[in-house]
Point group: C2
Chain length 672, copies 2
Amino acid sequence: MRKARQAASFDSFELTCLIYGGNDKVRQRRAAFERVERLSGTHDTIVLPKCYANTNREEAYDQGLKVGKIAFEDGLKYGHSFFHKMTPRYTLSNASPFGLVTLLFEPAIELNGTEEQKAKWLPLSKAGEILGSYCQTELGHGTFVRGLQTTATLDRETDEFVIHSPTISSTKFWPGGIGFSATHAIVMAMLHIDSKEHGPHLFIVQLRAVEDGKPMPGIRLGDIGLKMAYNETDNGFASFNHVRVPRTNMLMAHASLSRNGLLSTIPGHQVLTYSTMLMGRFAIARTTAFQLAQATTIATRYSVVREQGVGHSPVGFEGKEMQIIHYKSQHFRLLTLMAKSYAILFASKHCDVEYEKFRLLQQKDSQSRLSYMHSLSAGVKAWSTEQAADGAEDARKCCGGHGFLMMSGLPEIVASVTAAATFEGENYVLWQQVGRHLLKCVDVAQGGGKLGPEVTYLFDLHGSSTQPCGATGAEFLSGEVQLNIYRHRARRLVETAHKALRSSKKPRSEAWNEHMMAIISAARAHMEYTILQSFVSHLRSLPATTTPSLRSALDRLRSLFALGNMVSPRTIDVISFVEDDHLSLAQLSAIRTLVNDVAERLVPDAIGLTDGWDFSDPSLCSALGMRDGNVYENMMGWVEQLPINRRAWDHNSGVYQPGWNSFVDPVLKGKL
Amino acid sequence: MRKARQAASFDSFELTCLIYGGNDKVRQRRAAFERVERLSGTHDTIVLPKCYANTNREEAYDQGLKVGKIAFEDGLKYGHSFFHKMTPRYTLSNASPFGLVTLLFEPAIELNGTEEQKAKWLPLSKAGEILGSYCQTELGHGTFVRGLQTTATLDRETDEFVIHSPTISSTKFWPGGIGFSATHAIVMAMLHIDSKEHGPHLFIVQLRAVEDGKPMPGIRLGDIGLKMAYNETDNGFASFNHVRVPRTNMLMAHASLSRNGLLSTIPGHQVLTYSTMLMGRFAIARTTAFQLAQATTIATRYSVVREQGVGHSPVGFEGKEMQIIHYKSQHFRLLTLMAKSYAILFASKHCDVEYEKFRLLQQKDSQSRLSYMHSLSAGVKAWSTEQAADGAEDARKCCGGHGFLMMSGLPEIVASVTAAATFEGENYVLWQQVGRHLLKCVDVAQGGGKLGPEVTYLFDLHGSSTQPCGATGAEFLSGEVQLNIYRHRARRLVETAHKALRSSKKPRSEAWNEHMMAIISAARAHMEYTILQSFVSHLRSLPATTTPSLRSALDRLRSLFALGNMVSPRTIDVISFVEDDHLSLAQLSAIRTLVNDVAERLVPDAIGLTDGWDFSDPSLCSALGMRDGNVYENMMGWVEQLPINRRAWDHNSGVYQPGWNSFVDPVLKGKL
């Protein structure tokens, strides 16, 4: 491992500073992690982590409460937000019962509350006097909010809302922390005034008493059971039986309801209600970059330690064993995944910048960029989670059988990043939102309207990407050439989908359904172009002090990302790069050769690129992926501490008596 | 659900008989399942299954012992083998501590033991007087058996072998049932005679005393901890400290060692030793067909119940909610997966026939088809597990958030089929074995040698698949046209890989590594052709009594399989269908239209195609996928029985006291 670490062509600490935003930030983060890990008892990695020892529902929740509380308090005490969006394990912060406070509860109030409401609720939340959550999803409805069934009916006499769950399928289901922890929640419900329905609105509802945790009258709360991950929090259900809250608990920044029952909304108020999701989606994308990097770090470290022969009898041939990272298929997969984690990170930094611009515009009362921002957040979320989920799973598979062991840390990472493909907007739905935005842009342009800069390429009919790609050999390593290829593909697919849809004679929704696959392909191609663009521009604007060696490693990573994607057998929609002859077979084969070469050159940097993320051993929580590379010793060290082994060995010289006595012995003794 | 069920164009029971081999077999199976489910207590699906309630390591193992014992004894008592390769949950039988007996232990003795050894050990095993396992994998080595480090050293004086684990990484790791259950195991170890090493051989080693379960002197055994699945069995570790077994415990059918230490081997003995794996791999492939079908059944049933709007504000458009199966992307995914599960099933039936032919040949002392059988078993295993693992995960994603819940049944299915991609030969290694076989065939043919019928197509230079594909429109629905396309692609990729490798100037193993991706692509294309071929020929040889309606449904399924694979955005290596212009862009677009149409026509048959598999509700163990389609009622029914909810509600009116008192209350009360 030391040798592999020393092989890097750059200093991994320089990369760390680039990722986290400078030396000071890196040191503050490290200190925060150390404090939390020490208080949680995970700092000593000789000790088997509790999550691999005590694994029933209650124990997992207790662990989440414990670590969540420590991280929550560390933020309050030291005034930082390191754990606001991610846990100390780099999972999205809603993996802890305390995590939705800063991820959704407070932002929802900030974005949708009046000044008065903000003044009332935010201080309570920030002081930790109430514990907030956010309840949207129901048993029968998720992303499609207009299908929600929970009702909030105005009672004019008492000036209250009656919150009610009229059906089983309207039970709120999945919200984090509501099973047993949260005291308050923002509940999305259909507003009813005088038997007229006014669509979904947000209401602050107290779920349980702050004094003793008892559910408020008429509210039934509980846990929804074990999930593939996120078992540290109590994702729960909530059923409301005519529960009353004051009228003033409706969040009224965009739609206000007066004492006399008059509803006044500002234009696009429903859209604005979803703004909470914008930030949520950017946070998700950002988190998946770290999760994919974690999985790749573990798999890469394992791959420089693990050795394997080059085939086996009868089909093998001679040769001694190699570290598996030197196998072409192994390092191509790992380095491509590493490149993707950086691509997601840089894209999410780009989104932060765009979001800031958008906020400034909003303050000037302009919502002109809202639909662009929605499309960007949907697309970045969908692409990042899709790539990170597939990628983390591929990294897990790169570890063979050991990646199947919970204590490899990989199953938990894969499962939690996979969840992200579903929550806050199922990806297939999001792709359609992006597609819809793009097709509208085409309509606007054809009607002579003006487009935002991010989509003008769709109509730049004289740009170089409209010509057949003329590049050869090493020219494909140029960022501009790569961008041209992605741009050409996106434009062609958007054009095709637009033509198919608009020329259809079928009713609108049927036509949409019929061409859904083409629309999704177009949306994905546009996002891949956008992601590559942010990768390229991020590298162009690196700090002037960046060393040439780091620059060239990152350049290679960018080429591996752009070109590797075009030749990897598993790329989604890969056929669209070539089906229109923009690239010839000979060019494709030249690209394959280049990719081989770029990947090969990056192998010595593999450990440096993983170390750059600066993951602590306790945060990886992996017997395979510790910094020291002592894989087999670490595995056996943890295995020997497993409770079932201690139980068998400490008192029974290797026999697990309950199982042996009840089941094995009777079979052997012929007591059939 | 009833409506969806009645929409089928055929009788699902006819399909069931086709899958399981006739009416009688179906009834026997059903009876066996009912007995086992009743005895295990899983028959009443109103009751929350134990696997979702009691989830720690010990409880999972206890459950596996209990159900494993019941299924094991049912087979003995009623003389059937329904649970020899699969558990009553359709997981590979090594999910139970009793499962390796018939899956690996007895076959290893049958294939590698002398008549005397068989006569000694098989009756003991079949009577249940010993409980066998199979130990190959070590902490540091898996598939590459020549790298194994466990030693078996002959002690001439005592006529014994000394079995020893010289390093930490040589610890046997992963074998099923050895943690606390198995009494005996076949152990693979490197044979040493007079300080000369003679490669891996198999030894019968007693692991623990039959009387009381105590590990034998010098053997350390234990559990390896929680895995993503298979927690019902005690995959374990075994470390040997100079453990002595009689010389006659070496399995000697292919290599015998005399009293005076003389080793005599028959040609290819090492190859023969791996024959155990042949059957194991076929069994794995067969199991994954059922697992993929299970996942697809759950997701399909859920999709005819779940409704969703057609987009949401701000990007939605008008329209009422639809059952999600009517969405193009949803039914394309589900039906394609269904088609794949049938493709795997038919391929595995084809393999059974080939294996039978091979056994007859072997009895005539001919090993001429051994390398073909190895290639077939490697390829079918790699392809099936790859497709089934990706496919089951896609089915899980088709269920949105609820598919993330353990009680959907999907995470467990996905995790266990995913494991299959790794065990009994990691897929990347297997693909290389297939590739190696194909390249050797090319060498043989170029040297004027004779080839087996399955690869002659590689040299049929005048066949229709060497011409550009001339088909248009509905002609693509012909099985022959589809086969031609797959055949052309496979031949081209094999040719390309062969040329690249054989013309390389580099040392052999370097050249192999350099062209690994091309070799794997060639191997996969050859297997996809083989799989399609078995699909086509299976449909051609259906029983004469098969109804026309079932025939045409299966024909559609075959077209969806062949053509869907070519246009699906997620197909591995999809680019190779078009990159040489065998198919034009116009043809591809015609195929897309056909696929849309075929999928649409199969929608009414969706429930019939899932019911055909005849899965019992307890075997699916899914709140989402029960036959009755009462998804939301079933979910809430189980959720309310969760131990953590009972604990909170039965005595504490909705408060989970441990968590509230220790962590939430202190935060709320400001005790930071």
